[in-house]
Symmetry: C2
Subunit: 461 residues, 2 copies
C-alpha cells in the first residue's frame, strides 16, 4: 500500500473531464449557431457513410455470431439491427451495429489519430434515439459533439497510446459514445461528467486483435459501454469527476503522452468531425493512391487487354505493408497493391465486391496482377503513387497521383459517397430502399424521429 512507483504522473493536468462535460451539456446545437453549415454537412456525410457500412456487413459472420450471443439474453425489441430484420434492446443494438459498421474496415477515418470515430458514437446514438423517439436534429448535434470528445482525447494521447497496443477507436470511442448519449439524454454538466467518468473505466481494444472479429467488436463494445455509462449516470450512478485526467485516471493509465491542449484548445470552435475522411476503396489506405491512378488510366481509355505491363513506383512502406503479389483470397487481396491496381484498371473502383474471393481468383485478374511491376522510390510520398501503363502498341500512358481520392486534400464528393453507399447496400436492401435511405440520411437533421430511417434499413421487411 505504501509503494508508489508511478513514474510520470502529471498532477497538474487541467480539469478536462469537467471541461468536456460542460461543453457537451451546454454547447449550443447547430440551429442555435453552435457550428457552421460545413461542419453540419460533414456530420451528415459521416452518418451516411457509417450507416452504409453497417448495412453492408449486416450478414457477415461477425454480426451473425454477435446477434446469436445477444439473442441468448432474450432482448426486448427496442432498436433496429441495421440491414437485418431483428430488433434487440438498445444496448445490444449499439453493440451489433457497431460491429457491422467496422467489419469491412470501410468506415470513416480521423486521419490525425486513425480513429474510426462514427462506429462507437453513431451506433450508440441511433439505438438510443430510435427507442427514445428523439429527433434527427438532436442525433446529429450529439454526433458532432461526441466525435469531438473521442477525437480530442485521441489527439492528446496519440501516438504513444496507439504504439503501446491500444486500438484507439475502441479506447476513446467509449468516451465519445458516453458524451453523445449524455447529450441526447439532456444530462446536466454534473451528470455528463459522471457519464464520462464511468466510461473512462472501460477503454476497449488491443491491436493484437486485428484480423479477427474482435477488431470490429471494439467499436461495438465501446458503443454499448458508452450508452450504458450515460444511462447509469442518468440514474445517479457516480464516478470520479477527474476520471480522465487524474494521476490514476484513464488517460495517464493508458498513455504516457497526454497533450492536454489538444482537448482544451478551440473547444467549441474547431470541430474534429471536419477532419473526418471516407475510404473510397475497401482496403488499407496505402494502396489507395495506386488504385486511384489505375482508375484514372481506365478513365483515359486504357483497357486491360491492351496492357503489356504496368510500371508502379511507390514509397517502400507500400510494398512492405501490401506487397502480396499472388493473393489467394479476398482477405489477402486487401494487402496486395497488385490486386488494387488490377481492380482499379478493370472496374474503376475497388469496393468490398472487388475484394471478394470470386473476383480475386478470376483468371483475368491473376493475369493483370502479374503484369504489375512495382519498384520502390522513396522520393515519392507514402500518400502518392506514380503509375505508367505500357501498351502492346508501344504507347505509354502516365498518371501521377499526389493525394488519392478520399484524402483530406481530395475528399470524396457527395455523389461518390452515394455510389459507395449503393455498392454496400443494394445487395442487402435493393436499389429503391437504398435510394430512399440515402435521402433519409441527407435529411436526417430534419427528421422528427428515427423510426422512418431505421425502417428503410430493415432487410426483408
Amino acid at each position: 500500500m505504501a509503494r508508489n512507483t508511478q513514474v510520470s504522473a502529471d498532477l497538474n493536468a487541467p480539469p478536462v473531464t469537467q471541461l468536456l462535460a460542460r461543453f457537451i451539456a451546454t454547447h449550443p446545437g447547430y440551429l442555435a449557431g453552435g457550428w457552421s453549415a460545413d461542419v453540419d454537412h460533414e456530420a451528415h456525410r459521416t452518418f451516411m457513410n457509417w450507416l452504409g457500412c453497417a448495412v453492408g456487413a449486416a450478414r457477415h459472420d461477425a454480426a451473425t455470431a454477435a446477434l446469436a450471443a445477444v439473442a441468448m439474453l432474450q432482448p426486448a425489441a427496442q432498436a433496429s439491427v441495421l440491414g437485418r430484420s431483428e430488433k434487440v434492446d438498445m444496448a445490444s443494438a449499439a453493440l451489433v451495429n457497431g460491429i457491422s459498421s467496422h467489419t469491412f474496415d470501410f468506415d470513416d477515418t480521423h486521419l490525425k489519430t486513425i480513429i474510426h470515430p462514427a462506429g462507437p458514437v453513431a451506433s450508440a446514438l441511433l439505438a438510443l434515439a430510435e427507442h427514445n423517439k428523439v429527433s434527427g436534429r438532436e442525433l446529429i448535434d450529439a454526433l458532432v459533439l461526441g466525435i469531438d470528445v473521442s477525437c480530442r482525447v485521441g489527439n492528446a494521447m496519440y501516438p504513444d497510446h496507439y504504439d503501446r497496443g491500444w486500438h484507439i477507436t475502441g479506447s476513446t470511442g467509449t468516451l465519445g459514445a458516453a458524451a453523445a448519449c449524455a447529450r441526447l439524454l439532456k444530462l446536466d454538466t454534473e451528470k455528463t461528467a459522471m457519464a464520462l467518468g464511468i466510461a473512462a473505466s472501460q477503454p476497449v481494444g488491443m491491436r493484437e486483435q486485428f484480423g479477427t472479429m474482435t477488431k470490429p467488436y471494439h467499436p461495438g463494445a465501446a458503443a454499448r459501454a458508452g450508452l450504458m455509462s450515460a444511462l447509469l449516470a442518468s440514474q445517479g450512478f457516480t464516478a470520479s469527476p477527474k476520471a480522465l485526467e487524474a494521476a490514476r485516471g484513464m488517460m495517464q493509465t493508458v498513455s504516457t503522452k497526454n497533450d492536454w491542449n489538444e482537448i482544451t484548445e478551440e473547444l467549441g470552435q474547431r470541430f474534429e468531425i471536419s477532419f473526418n475522411s471516407y475510404k473510397p476503396f475497401a482496403c488499407g489506405i496505402v494502396i489507395h493512391p495506386s488504385i486511384d491512378a489505375c482508375a484514372q488510366l481506365r478513365a483515359q481509355g486504357v483497357k486491360p487487354e491492351d496492357v503489356q505491363s504496368i510500371e508502379l513506383r511507390v514509397h517502400s512502406l507500400v510494398l512492405e505493408l501490401t506487397g502480396k503479389k499472388e493473393p489467394q483470397d479476398g482477405l489477402q487481396a486487401k494487402f496486395s497493391v497488385y490486386h488494387g491496381c488490377a481492380a482499379g484498371l478493370t472496374f474503376g473502383r475497388a469496393g468490398e465486391e472487388e475484394f471478394s474471393d470470386a473476383i480475386v481468383s478470376r483468371p483475368d485478374m491473376i493475369d493483370l496482377r502479374r503484369k504489375v511491376v512495382a519498384s520502390v522510390d522513396n522520393s515519392i510520398e507514402e500518400a502518392s503513387a506514380d503509375v505508367a501503363a505500357v501498351l502492346h502498341d508501344g504507347r505509354r500512358v502516365h498518371v501521377f497521383v499526389e493525394h488519392a481520392i478520399g484524402s483530406l486534400q481530395k475528399p470524396m464528393t457527395d455523389a461518390m459517397l452515394e455510389a459507395k453507399f449503393h455498392g454496400l447496400t443494394d445487395q442487402v436492401l435493393g436499389l429503391d430502399k437504398s435510394n430512399a435511405l440515402i435521402q433519409a440520411c441527407w435529411n436526417v437533421g430534419d427528421a422528427s424521429n428515427l423510426r422512418g430511417l431505421t425502417a428503410l434499413a430493415c432487410a426483408d421487411c
Copy 2:
C-alpha cells in the same frame, strides 16, 4: 504506420492464452480428482462470503441506480438480483450482483495481488448457471478454475500493472469470468481461447474511481464482459489466439512487468483460490490488527466504561492511511484506526453496521475514540498491533497481535464466516432465510441446480 516505438515488447512470451484455454477446457473437476478437498472447501467459503456481501449491499444506492439503468433495457427475467426481488437477463444480473458484492469493500482478497477475485467470477457464474440450470458442482468447479486464471494473470503483472493505475480486480476479472463461463458452457479448448481472447480486449477499471460507485462497478462490468465473451465464443465469434501474450496483446499493453512463469508454473497443481482471504472487519486491512487486539481485550473482560486510555503502537503506515481521529460519518470512520479500536472494544466486531453513521456518531464511541493514544513504532510490522488498556483502577491489560484474524496466517473459521454472513444478510432476508442460505452455500457443490439457492437470496419473496 511505419512508426514502431513500443520499447519493451517480449516477442518470446509463452503461448499462455492457449495454455490457459486448454487448462480450463480439460482439467478434471473436483469429483474426478482435479484438486484437493481443502481447495474445494475454500471455494465454498469464497462463494458464501461473496454471496453474503452481495445480499448485504443489495439496497445500496449503487445497486439501485445500476438496476434502474438496466431496467431501461426492459430485460428478460432470466436470473436473480441477489438480496432483491427483481430478475433481469443474465448479463445484467452478473453486472448488478458484481456491483453489490464489492460495494462494502468487504469481499474476498487474494493478498498477493490485492485482487478481489470472487466479484467478477462468481457474479458471472451464478447468473449463467441459474438461467442454464447447471448444477452447483459445475459452478464450484468453474469458480476454482476461473479464479485461477484471473489471479495468475494478476500475479504475472503485479505490481507494475496496479501501480500504473489499473484496478486489478476489474482488469483481470474479465478474463476470470470469461474462463469460468467458458467452462460452464463446456466450450472446447479452441473456443475457450476465443472467449479469453475477446475478454482480453476489455480490461475494466482505474484506481482513480476509488471512493465512487464506479469502484464496485468494475467487478460488475468485468463479470458482464466475461460472460458475454464466453457467449460470443460459443457462437463462433473469433479473437486472436495470442490475445494475452502477444506484443500488442492485453498483458503487454497494460503492464510492463509480465512474469509468464506465474501463469505456467504448477498450473493445475497449485490453485490460487487456496490463498484467498476474507475480511472480518468492514474497513481497510491495516486497521484489522488493532480491531482484533481490542476485541481480544473485550474478550478478556475489559469494558469500555473501565478504560482510562488505550495505548496503541503501530507501524507508521497505519496512521498515515487511517489516522483520522474524529471521523464525522461512517465512510470517514473506515479510515480511522481510532474508531476501529472503539468498535472492537465495544462490540467485539466491526462489520458494516459498526461503520454506520448512527454508530459512528454515538457519544460513547466519540468518547472512546478520544481515549485512544496512538504512537508509531516501526519495529512493529504493518500486519501487527500492540495495544494496552489502562483502566481506571490502575490495571494495565496488554495484547499483542502478530497477525490479525482474517490473514492467511490466522484465517477466519467457518463459524466466523457464518457470523459475518448473518451480519450482512439478516437485515435483508431475516434470520431464518439467512440460516437456510448459509446451509445452501455449504451444500452448493451437491445442488442439482441453483434455483433453490437464488430463491433463498430473494428479499420480499
